[in-house]
């Protein structure tokens, strides 16, 4: 019983129902997650996010270096709560979610500190769009994200300049299709879900991201 309580404590709603199901179907003798033996901490980030958190196209993991601590913290917490990385088609989000689920408040702080220590290098430009057309669209984004895409903590809007452009595209698509931002406890995500509807198609996304690329960092 102690075991079940522990599980419940650690789980979000979806997983809780599975746990209960398993509990009553008599699976309790199946133990998993034995005690820790290897001397590991939760500093796993660079396997996916690349050297010094530069981002890795190969596994579609975004740049963490240069990301604002307050924004990174919010996202880690969102993943932990399961309000991000919940949709079956959000492949990368699904991979991030269980990692974040394991994080304690202390290890989140530890990770933020680690990320702060990374030097920022400019991201490679990989998207070809019409930056002039994108500038027109971006004027609406600028309200929150700032004219230079530098972000605005007071409004909860992260910097966009300097992020990997392919990652920005993925997230715009995710928001637009409701793979991200669909949970009522994620007000910022919900806002983005609405805002991305102004992007008519993938061309428009390429254009706006190409404009963001011109803002440099």
């Amino acid at each position: 019983m102690k075991y079940l309580t522990l599980l419940v404590y650690k789980m979000n709603k979806r997983k809780l129902s599975v746990a209960i199901l398993i509990f009553f179907s008599g699976l309790t003798p199946l133990l998993f997650g034995a005690e820790e033996i290897e001397p590991y901490n939760d500093r796993y980030c660079t396997t996916c996010h690349g050297t010094d958190g530069r981002g890795n196209f190969g596994v579609q993991a975004p740049r963490l270096a240069g990301m604002e601590a307050w924004y990174l913290k919010r996202q880690l917490e969102n993943f932990r709560e399961g309000i991000r990385g919940y949709h079956p088609e959000d492949i990368e989000g699904l991979a991030m979610q269980p990692m974040a689920e394991k994080l304690t408040n202390e290890s989140i702080l530890d990770i933020l500190e680690w990320v702060e220590s990374w030097e920022y290098f400019p991201a490679e430009v990989t998207i070809e769009g019409d930056a002039a057309a994108g500038e027109l669209i971006y004027s609406q984004c600028a309200t929150c994200h700032g004219a230079e895409a530098e972000g605005n903590e007071a409004l909860g809007a992260p910097a966009l300049s300097g992020q990997n452009d392919w990652y920005l595209i993925t997230q715009l698509k995710n928001f637009k299709q409701g793979l991200r931002g669909g949970e009522s406890t994620d007000p910022f995500g919900q806002q983005m879900m609405v805002m991305t509807q102004i992007l008519a198609d993938e061309n428009a996304m390429d254009n706006v991201v190409s404009y963001i690329n011109t803002l440099g960092r």
């Binding site: 199946l30 997650g33 596994v59």
Partner: protein, 548 residues
Amino acid sequence: MIILERSLEIASNMLIASFREKLMPKLVTRREFLNLLGSAGGTSATLKAGSALGLLPAASIANSLDLLALGPNKKKVAILGGGLSGLTVAYELGKLGYECTILEASHRCGGRIFTVRNGDLIDEIGNRQYCDFDDDPHMYFNGGAARIPSFHNNLLSYCKELGIELEVFVGENNNAYFQDDALLGGKRVRVNDYKTNIRGFMGEMLAKSMSEQEMDEPLTEREAENLLSIIRSFGDLGESDLYTGSSRNGYKSGGYISHGVQKDMIAFRDLLQSELGRRALTAYEGDQGPCLLQAKGGMDNITNGFLRKVEDRVKYRAMVSSINVSNDGVEVTYDQDGARHLLQADYCFSCIPTHLITGLDHNFPSDYVKAMKYVRRGDAYKAAFQAKERFWERENIYGGITKMAGRSADIWYPSHGIHQNKGVILAAYNFRGGSYHTNMSQQERIESHIKDGEKIHPNYRDLVEKPVTIAWHRINHMLGCAARWNRNFGGWTQEEEFMFDTLQTPLNGRHYVIGDQISVNVAWMESAIRSAHWALEDLDKRVRSELA
């Protein structure tokens, strides 16, 4: 054996040809089917075609490397990743006097050669597990590589050279099961029952078509007779070439002291309800065909065999962070114990998966990076249970594989530890569709394997415990298995060939990408070794001309 395979091939060609041309759109009776087969007129063509078996990559004798020893010269080599190809390079170059350093990010070498035993860490990102199997020598599970085809000569010759003991791995087992909800109401069926019956019906049709049809191929009478007798024995046909059941799949009862009572036939139509049928006669061919071998005591004994020779060259938990290639060498940095270190070398061999190299700091040219970005990563998935007793042996199963239509796909019974009290069975192996389970929580994964397994073994839920799951897509420092180069059916495009060549060619003659990822037959240890040998031979040419 060849003749049987050959006639099988002809048979299947005939069937396929007539199916394609005539059959697909409408329903036909068995009688009509025979007529169609007879009138397909494809026999002479198919007899001429099918000349090559064309299944296996050319088997050759083990590559005997003829590499130049350095003598008084000195060369430093950085080996990135302690996968099998990296270890091969370290071992071979060590013999020649090169000074090698292996940087391995993980706590262990071997990469995708991974045997799980009591106390072992399964370092899945977000789902770290420790294996809790009983601490006995036979209680292990090969979570990565598990079988060695008997013609993977380079691997086999290293096993011999390094004193790695081998034993037989049973893959095909007629006493294992097929299970598909669409087949006989989901009832498990012995592979043997399925095979015997489907062969019987196929043989009957072939025999009929031979006798009813005028062969336009000028076979001699003797050839024709032989072909007919092959077909008859293929199907175990009775009088008038009718299939009326067989004793090949055992008896319902008797057979030793009293006469055997033949089992009931499974209706032809019933056999055709499952897609597993496709695998009934051909699941175990090529790389997966008998005789297969495994390393005694666990596949990681292969890694250990190499490590006995090069262990002192390995730095563990040393994660490569940058690679800079110049005209006269390579500079590598790596993170270990919270600090960044520099390693300078004349040459560099990297078996780090390409999808992870792209996240490192590097000075690679754009075509090199483009090729790396192109390769996609596979999502192979395995799971295992400790079995409290060897219940499969009570069902006459010793080793081998049960195939399920359910997503857990396979159950593998251990070939080792026969008649011991307990054993470890593979509960799931999904090589191409592993994301299905990867995206589940640990509890959901286990429940799914139990549900699938219960359809085969009653009381499965009570008979198994201590699960481990290995989602290669999320294993730390691997994040995939195996490289996927070509994206379309119908082979490699020219562009793909070009990108492959680009990555295979050493950058500035200094930086080699190796591993099964630089082969066209991925996910085999032999391919990892062959790739290492290719690189070593290329290096050798360069060093010879430099020292000449």
